[in-house]
């Protein structure tokens, strides 16, 4: 086994996903197969290969430091499910 049910439940929790017992069991099986397949890559010798961080060939895409935002505050708030006095409103979060 490449992955345990506990690990699947932990990852789900980090992603704020709530799995039923059946789902957890099903995904554990599926993820195990995926990891098994990915594991094929371990057979390759990549000691001399630089890790890839980006698949496009562009480098140094930069912008000038100019404040040129034309987005209106009303537009920013337009899709918010809840808002008040110009703020986004969310369920209370205090860490």
């Amino acid at each position: 086994m490449k992955i345990t049910k506990e690990e699947v439940e932990y990852v789900a929790k980090l992603a704020r996903m709530y799995l039923s017992k059946e789902e957890a069991k099903m995904f554990t099986g599926q993820l195990d197969k995926i990891l098994d397949y990915i594991n094929l890559l371990n057979e390759l010798d990549v000691n001399d290969v630089q890790p890839t961080s980006q698949s496009v060939s562009k480098r140094n895409v930069l912008r000038k430091d100019t404040a040129d935002n034309t987005f209106k505050k009303e537009e920013s708030l337009k899709n918010a499910p809840s808002q008040d006095k110009g703020f986004f409103k969310v369920p209370k979060v205090i860490e």
């Binding site: 980006q54 912008r63 040129d68 920013s76 703020f87």
Partner: protein, 478 residues
Amino acid sequence: MEFEAVIGLEVHAQMLTDSKIFCGCSTKFGNEPNENTCMVCLGLPGALPVLNKKVVEYAMKVAIATDCKVAPLSIFARKNYFYPDLPKGYQISQYELPIAEHGRISIDLDGKKKVIGITRIHMEEDAGKLIHEGVGEDTDCSYVDLNRACVPLIEIVSEPDIRTPKEAALYLKKLRQILVYLEICDGNMEEGSLRCDANVSVRPVGQEKFGTRAELKNMNSFKFIEKALEYEIKRQIHTINNGEEIVQETRLFDTSKGVTISMRSKEEAHDYRYFPDPDLVPLLIDDAWYNEVKATICELPDDKIQRFVTQYKIPEYDAEVLSSTKQLADYYEETVKHTDDTKMASNWIMGDILRELKNDNIEIDACPVSPKMLAEMIKLIKDGTISSKIAKTVFEEMYRSKKMPDAIVREKGLVQVTDSGAIENMIDDVIAANPNQYEQYKAGKDRLFGFFVGQVMKLSKGKANPKLVNELLKKKLT
């Protein structure tokens, strides 16, 4: 058992750019909530971040100023966590391959230099602001303002080379001075443009292995940092002496009680699952770019202090005070362009000028006395037009009215009396008015000499040349 503390600091500095790190929103402080937002910093689907070139150059400047090695290749990473202060669900930061590593800052510890290593410097975006109370009527809600989200920060991580709260404060002061000198951060801790977290552990003296560390947060002034560290070190030593274990945790400094408190809700360890951000391409810094940025770096405090000592022949202490800010150092250099007495100029700036500025709570840029005016006044002292004592009066008037010193001297009739005849007359008057003291002096009571000097100066309203008064008195009294 004797313990020592091991401290490392993580400093976040807000960069003084016009726009955010990955979008064209303004970084202006104090705008209406969510006014400085767009699809990028709101994390709307499909919006792509584009890196602000100035942020890269500012980070390079800090790296060069702290002797770091600037990476020819660096990349951005996503730090994943769910919290409404960043709507994307992750913060764009750097993890593997940060922009710079392996630097140092030296601090002055009671006359001795101590080097504090810098582990790494990286660029990242700030998070938005959450307000939990006082906005709307709904008490079950938090209110989110994303103006600060995506504002550029650089994080400077020190090696665990710091041993005392005092060293921590010195390191932070030095780092702040460099950032402000480079004009890339305003250094304001109270307003949060410079923030500091500390990793603290203790270990028995002589032991190499580090103890379990706590991370301290919420120390928004130099004073609080020293206090929080002092408290935390004592707490850890006390815990160990009681036979208990130190728990690795985040602790908040309670400024009103002066204690650190465990953030219990953080019991669940954070798992940020960093990975390279596919929305941003790698950043390459070649020698040409590096040298171009390096050439724009101004003279830094340490170099300035050394130059002041050799060029102006002033004590190191003076050079340090004068170099505390670039503006003050410029003021001094402008002053000594107009006068040769570099030490007298230093004395007046460190003494009277800094005192007046502090009283009025203003910066040197707003000083009513210009370097030229100060130099002119020093000239008047040097050529004997006014005495040092009268100069204090001239200075006060100059500071108040912004009039040139020679004009003040003329208007108020403050010219020093250097006419021997006039001084001799005054001496005669003083002797005539104090026959008893005169007899006692004649009988051998030498101490009374000072009394006569004082009386003559008083009679001249402080305007008599003290050196001449001394000389002539000696003649008259013998």
